[in-house]
Every structure is written in structure tokens, then in C-alpha cells.
């Protein structure tokens, strides 16, 4: 039990990272033109990613209408991506969901405009 407590605090512990640096390195290396990454850069990127996850989760959660929210849902994230400047780069991967029938309707409308 006590070892679990230590793990929980280590996420917040600035000395450690929870995300595996090896996996982060894999992702970084998949980027074109990247030759090598020094150890400190790898550590910083990993740590920054953790901070990002926290920030994204908190921002998306707070956006709620002010009433007591009990669940963080996908739409909260999509809304945050659209409405927050720093999350603009996520807009393509966090698209808002629409009903199929609304999509089809909008396609029809586009078709009508083109015909004119």
C-alpha cells in the first residue's frame, strides 16, 4: 500500500516522470529531419507532455457550464480545442461530433449552392 502512495506523489515529483521516456523517444524519432536527441531534451519533452495532459484535462473540465460536473467527456475536449488558442493544433484530431443526419443535410445544402 505504501509503495502505491510513493508512486502517486512521484507524478507530481519534479524529479521523476511517469511517462516512459523510451516511448516518447520513439515518437520523437518518427518526426522527419530529427537526427538525435540529447538526454535532457528527452526528459523535458516527456515532462512537458505530462504537464500538457494535466492542462488539457483541467481546461476541458472547467469549460463546463458551471454546474457540478461529474464526468469529463469527449465533447468537452473537442470544445476546448475549438475555443482555446493553445489547443488549436488539436482541432483536426479532436473534431466536434455531429449527427449523421445533420451532416447529410449540410451536404445537400452544399449541393444546392453549387448547382446555382
Amino acid at each position: 500500500m505504501s509503495s502505491e502512495k510513493v508512486d502517486a506523489s512521484s507524478t507530481m515529483n519534479s524529479k521523476n516522470v511517469s511517462l516512459p521516456m523510451s516511448r516518447v523517444k520513439l515518437i520523437m524519432k518518427s518526426s522527419p529531419d530529427v537526427s538525435s536527441i540529447n538526454q535532457e531534451a528527452l526528459f523535458l519533452t516527456t515532462k512537458a507532455t505530462e504537464l500538457f495532459v494535466q492542462y488539457l484535462a483541467q481546461c476541458s473540465f472547467k469549460r463546463g457550464s458551471g454546474r457540478e460536473k461529474k464526468t469529463l467527456a469527449y465533447c468537452d475536449l473537442a470544445n476546448a480545442a475549438e475555443e482555446t488558442d493553445t489547443f488549436q493544433f488539436l482541432i483536426d484530431i479532436l473534431p466536434k461530433k455531429i449527427l449523421a443526419r445533420d451532416y447529410l443535410r449540410s451536404l445537400e445544402e452544399m449541393g444546392e449552392v453549387e448547382d446555382d
Binding site: L44, F52, Y74, I93
Partner: protein, 151 residues
């Protein structure tokens, strides 16, 4: 579970833990939201890497360093991360230095031990008779216990 080399996702369990610790107690996170955050994190890594790499290339370097990553964070408008990142980096560097010193110390100790052993060996040869007596006494004590079992 076989991991494909092209698996550029971050481990779900860790992502989930980070999310839970960032939110108030008792808040649930839908599976879809978790997956989306995980994907967003991967995209974040790519975006940060690409940005940092631009800074490295500007300085005609092929290796990404800490300054490149910090510059990337600023470029991406995540200035809020800069201070915590600086602090983490200091702690990390201290930890790494400690580890290095510890392993060097271990190596030094090992070398010392080998020297001591060599000295002891030559001393042992001189004191052989005395030690044999001691050893016999010990063995008798042990055998005393064992004899019962053999019977």
C-alpha cells in the same frame, strides 16, 4: 500483448493516472475522452519535436538539446510550462549527477576491494594454521546439528 514498432501511443494506464490526479476527486473520465487525450499527447510530442528541431537547425545543430525544447514551448504558447520545466530539469540533472557519482563510487570501491583481497590473501597464507583451527570448531558445531537429521 505484442507491441508493434509503429505504436506511437503512450501507455493508457499512465495517461489515465495523470488525468485523474489533475482533476478533482470523484470525477469520471469517459473512455473516449481518455483515448482522445492520449492521442492529443502524442500529437503534442510531434509538434514540440518539430518546433524544437527548427531551433536546432537554425543553430546548425543536429542534436536537439534542452534549450531547443524550452524555445519550442514558448513558440507553442505554453509559457506556463517554462518555470515548472526549469525546476524539473534542475532536479533531474542533480539526480543524474548523483547516479553517476554513485556508480563511480561503486567502481572505486570494487577496485579497493580487489586490492584489499589481494593483501588479505598474502596475510592468510601466513596465518593458515590458526584459521584452520577456527574452521574446525565451527564445523563441529554445525555437524552437531546435522547428525540428528542423518540418523
Amino acid at each position: 500483448m505484442a507491441e508493434r514498432p509503429e505504436d506511437l501511443n503512450l501507455p493508457n494506464a499512465v495517461i489515465t493516472r495523470i488525468i485523474k490526479e489533475a482533476l478533482p476527486d470523484g470525477v469520471n473520465v469517459s473512455k473516449e475522452a481518455r483515448r482522445a487525450i492520449s492521442q492529443a499527447a502524442s500529437v503534442f510530442v510531434l509538434y514540440a519535436t518539430s518546433c524544437a528541431n527548427n531551433f536546432a537547425m537554425k543553430s546548425k545543430r543536429k542534436t536537439l538539446n534542452a534549450a531547443d525544447v524550452m524555445a519550442a514551448m514558448e513558440e507553442m504558447e505554453f509559457e506556463r510550462f517554462l518555470q515548472p520545466l526549469r525546476e524539473s530539469l534542475e532536479a533531474y540533472k542533480k539526480g543524474q549527477k548523483g547516479k553517476k557519482e554513485a556508480s563511480e563510487q561503486k567502481r572505486k570501491d570494487k577496485e579497493k576491494k580487489t586490492d584489499v583481497e589481494e593483501n588479505e590473501k598474502s596475510r592468510e597464507e601466513e596465518n593458515e594454521e590458526e584459521e584452520d583451527e577456527h574452521m574446525e570448531e565451527e564445523q563441529e558445531g554445525e555437524n552437531g546439528g546435522e547428525e540428528e537429521v542423518e540418523n
